[in-house]
Symmetry: C2
Subunit: 181 residues, 2 copies
DNA sequence: TATTCTATTCAGAACCTTTTGAAAGGACCG
DNA sequence: CGGTCCTTTCAAAAGGTTCTGAATAGAATA
């Protein structure tokens, strides 16, 4: 049975979403699964996704769990059916907020902590250093501080964007436009 | 010879930066190289980075080239020295702009193109479809449109932020504080 | 031109991630 | 209970990515 155009388009999207995920450090399959569920009008069960993506049960199970951990999909139960179904968050802005929040927690916080530690390590030694080396120490501290400041500003931008949410993004963009002159 | 605290801090930072890069889809070594050059006060040559990161010549060469392609470091030549030296962009906002611009070109544009294609594939078939299937087609189109809209808004936010960023971070942060109330 | 110094390339090795499938676990049902 | 249905786990295999180092190329010097 030939695929309909709608199905063809879905497959196209799923594959590209998978590729994009891969280049952003998310496993291809996990991203494809997410795309599949994002497009699907009703919740799908493990067997559905196994069939649609041609992957094994174990693979499906693990990646579905991981997506649940990320908060991008959730489990759905149906009366009189033992199977578990999965449904994706469909609001793109909510999706974005979830992704950023998770990545911040997993990947940004560790580097921020490390940089703060680096600063204080250098700070501690600085006093004991002769003038030439002290100069280097201060330059390093400046570099660390620059990244920390960047992180803080990005953080407020993200908080602001997520607070105003999907309804308010356009007004926000306008406000920023005014600031930018 | 024992490492100074400044050197210890550098190594700490370099390793973490590498890990972070890895989880964002950039090879660990490339990110470490970038961190090393970001911290370094003067340009380094291939042998310097080989020694400091304990990597092979080929590895150093390839990753340095890749960083040059990204626009995150540039080649520096010295009179009377055949070696090539490399120097990193030190302005964090400039760095950010470069990274986003490149990722947009490499990873966002392809998915945007694909989604536009998906939309028109569905659009073309929609007319020939009976009412029930047409409903599905329209829902799919909505999903595609939502992502495209998101990309457009993010795009303008990025443009504005990077415009403001160049002239100075502090005014932006202050303004955001006011907006956030 | 031959020599020296440096940069690049790339096949194979090493390493890391992802996937499979079978076994174990757990929940519900009769 | 024992059987059925579904999920999870995990060791081994497959598949991918990154790294090495020796060969190659190129460019400046003598």
């Amino acid at each position: 049975m030939p695929l309909t155009a709608v199905e063809n388009a879905r497959n196209l999207f799923i594959r590209r979403w998978g590729e994009m995920g891969a280049s952003w450090g998310i496993s291809r399959t996990m991203a494809e699964l997410h795309a599949l569920l994002y497009l699907s009008n009703e919740p799908l069960c493990t067997d559905d996704v196994m069939a649609q993506l041609s992957i094994s049960r174990g693979n499906a199970s693990m990646n579905l769990r991981e997506l649940v951990n990320w908060g991008l999909i959730h489990r759905v139960h149906r009366r009189g059916d033992r199977k578990e179904y999965f449904e994706a968050e469909k609001d793109v802005w909510q999706m974005f907020e979830t992704i950023i929040r998770e990545r911040r927690r997993r990947e940004v916080l560790p580097i921020v902590e490390t940089i703060e530690r680096c600063r204080s390590i250098v700070e501690a030694e600085k006093k004991t250093l002769p003038a030439t080396l002290r100069r280097t120490a201060e330059e390093d501290q400046k570099r660390y501080a620059d990244i920390l400041e960047f992180c803080e500003v990005m953080n407020s931008i993200f908080n602001l964007v997520s607070r105003v949410g999907k309804t308010g993004v356009r007004p926000l963009a306008k406000a920023l436009g005014k600031l930018a002159g």
